[in-house]
């Protein structure tokens, strides 16, 4: 029964990785922007939650009320004020600007909070578990994270398929110039898209901060997990991202059960193997 437990743990953790990945996938899908600072923005969200908890007395999950809107605004302004200007000049500007932002965020966090390991505390929910019989138990918190991820992805998919904003997103993604001719303001659409990407980033950051510890240098690893989930799932596919996250997390959990030293490395190896045998992932939708 141990192995079934490990697989369930991995699958549930995959939900968190999918949340890491959705923001990255969204920015790439709509503006073909690969945000190198994505991992650092996740960590920034966790620190914002920490500050909110300390100053307002809200709980860790309650801090989402502040962190989510704050990150939306940050994302909007970041895109409108900075990243939009990098989109016309080829490959290097967006890459190097987000790379610079990544280093800035990491070092500002280091300057403000020091290198200490931090954690968000959500109380009893962290340790609660559901017994499913047959020796199988599921943690309530991992289950909550996974359900949140599924609900968030379903919501985003609905937004894409059913709303005017979603149609504008798809139009700019397909052909930015024509969309503009049809009266869509791309600069605004891109900024909204980045705002929405940051909503997922905020969710991911807070949920991560309750599950594991973090410090200012934790960003790049989150970026890499997010990236691996996106590529395993196939570029542009939201549900593929969830699957990618689950594959990655299961590889990590299974290897971690054998030997803790192998946990993260096994995830990388799983990713590299999939990259070699199936380079476009499981459900590719976008061609870059």
């Amino acid at each position: 029964m141990d192995w079934i437990n490990i697989l369930i743990q991995g699958a549930l953790l995959g939900g968190l990785y999918a949340l890491f990945a959705v923001g990255l996938s969204l920015a790439f899908g709509i503006m073909r922007l690969v945000n190198i600072a994505h991992g650092d923005l996740i960590v920034l969200a966790a620190y914002l939650a920490l500050m909110t908890v300390q100053t307002t007395g809200l709980g860790a999950l309650g801090s989402l009320v502040v962190v989510v809107p704050a990150m939306f605004v940050l994302g909007y302004l970041l895109q409108r004020g900075l990243l939009n200007f990098t989109l016309s000049g080829g490959l290097l500007p967006p890459l190097l600007v987000t790379f610079g932002i990544s280093v800035i965020i990491e070092n500002v966090l280091l300057q403000e909070f020091g290198a200490d390991i931090m954690r968000l505390h959500a109380g009893a929910i962290e340790t609660a578990s559901l017994r499913l019989g047959g020796g199988i138990a599921v943690g309530v918190y991992p289950l909550l994270v996974f359900t949140t991820a599924v609900a968030a992805i379903a919501g985003l998919q609905l937004l894409f398929d059913r709303t005017t904003l979603g149609r504008a997103f798809r139009a700019t993604s397909d052909d930015a110039a024509t969309a503009e001719l049809m009266g869509i303001d791309n600069r605004h659409i891109y900024a909204v898209a980045m705002g929405i990407a940051m909503v997922f980033t905020a969710l991911a950051g807070v949920l991560m901060g309750i599950r594991t510890t973090f410090d200012p240098s934790a960003g790049p690893v989150r970026l890499i997990f997010a990236f691996e989930a996106v590529i395993i799932g196939g570029l542009g596919s939201l549900w593929g991202t969830l699957l990618g996250g689950m594959v990655l997390a299961i590889a990590q959990e299974v290897a971690g059960a054998v030997s803790p030293n192998w946990q993260i490395l096994a995830g990388h190896i799983a990713f590299l193997v999939i990259l070699i045998v199936r380079p476009s992932g499981f459900f590719p939708r976008t061609r870059d």
């Binding site: 690969v34 190198i36 900075l82 200007f85 990098t86 000049g89 490959l91 290097l92 500007p93 967006p94 890459l95 190097l96 600007v97 790379f99 610079g100 932002i101 280093v103 800035i104 070092n107 500002v108 280091l110 300057q111 790049p220 690893v221 970026l223 890499i224 990236f227 691996e228 590529i231 030293n261 192998w262 993260i264 490395l265 990388h268 190896i269 990713f271 590299l272 990259l275 070699i276 380079p279 870059d288």
Partner: protein, 333 residues
């Protein structure tokens, strides 16, 4: 074609060659008139310049924006530490072998990461570097997580005297940066350089004109990996201690290097020189402010990318039209 000729150099570039020669002589004779502190600084600047030139060749010319060059620094360093401590190999020979070792690892690696385009390529190379770091920390003969040290006996194999050793390593740093700059310069002046410049400007267009973009890029990737491996071995023979974290440090061996190239001017040979000087000047002035210098470097790099993509050297070229290290061809009558 009567009456036409192609000229490769400019008047400034011939003048600059003289300046470079004088600078080279100054640096080579430096141990005889300057202290060990200066020697260490120059040696550090030398290997950073070499790393910057190589990253510039990759990203600025071949369009391969790698954030994983620390992989090859680490591999080269581990090759040196392993070969010298396990087989008693002379460190200088091991340093030379670090190149082929890094190249042998880079080749299969390229076949995986070349499937990723643009920014995803960048993160893919990063994953490899992270995987190497984690992998090495599991391998007992490589010292696992705690790393390895160079014993005095290994250092004696270079030469017994401490000062003579410092002198040899100093000259080696100069030799390596010279070789790297020469390789990059000659490569860019060769037909591969033309192919690279074409790829930099438009990959589909160059492919349609018969440039084998895949092979050209693969060649550049493997050559830079080999040279980066040698530099890694050289860096850690000076540091004497090697751990997975230090050897595969993304901040030390890639982030800083990217900033140098971007600030100085990506896609130009002169840019890395300028970036190097600015980086070291900032570091000296802001040494007491901890992380602030990295924040400032980040801000400057972002500003440069937004306002003057060709970097500071690009601004100079646009204003004064001078080319100190000319790789262009001028058609003259």
């Amino acid at each position: 074609m009567d009456g036409f000729r192609i000229e490769r150099s400019t008047r400034e570039s011939r003048g600059f060659a003289v300046v470079l020669l004088l600078g080279g002589v100054t640096l080579v004779t430096l141990p005889y008139w300057a202290g060990p502190g200066t020697m260490r600084l120059i040696s550090e600047m030398a290997y950073y310049l070499a790393l910057a030139q190589l990253w510039n060749l990759l990203a600025g010319y071949a369009g391969l924006v790698s954030v994983g060059q620390q992989a090859f620094v680490g591999i080269g360093a581990y090759a040196l530490f392993y070969l010298t401590s396990q087989f008693g190999m002379n460190p200088l020979l091991a340093m030379a072998l670090a190149g082929p070792v890094a190249a042998a690892i880079a080749l299969p690696m390229a076949l995986a990461v070349f499937r990723l385009r643009g920014a995803y390529f960048a993160i893919g190379t990063w994953v490899f570097a992270a995987a190497f770091e984690l992998g090495v920390s599991l391998i007992q003969p490589l010292g696992a997580g705690s790393g390895m040290s160079l014993t005095p006996a290994i250092l004696y194999a270079i030469t017994p005297g401490r000062e003579a050793r410092a002198l040899i390593i100093y000259w080696l740093s100069l030799a390596i940066v010279f070789v790297v700059c020469a390789v990059v310069y000659l490569l860019l002046r060769s037909r591969h350089g033309l192919a690279l410049t074409a790829i930099r400007d438009s990959e589909p267009a160059s492919a349609s004109l018969g440039v084998d973009t895949f092979r050209t890029k693969l060649m550049i990737y493997v050559i830079t990996a080999a040279l980066t491996g040698v530099i890694g071995a050289l860096i850690f023979v000076q540091k004497l201690r090697l751990s997975p974290e230090a050897g595969f440090s993304v901040n030390d061996w890639t982030v800083v290097v990217i900033f140098m190239v971007v600030i100085g001017g990506i896609g130009t040979l002169e840019g890395p020189f300028i970036g190097l000087l600015i980086y070291f000047a900032l570091r000296e002035f802001l040494a007491d402010y901890g992380t602030w210098y990295l924040i400032l470097l980040g801000v400057v790099a972002v500003a440069i990318m937004l306002l003057a993509q060709e970097g500071l050297w690009g601004l100079v070229v646009r204003r004064f039209d001078i080319h100190l290290l000319s790789v262009r061809r001028h058609l003259l009558r």
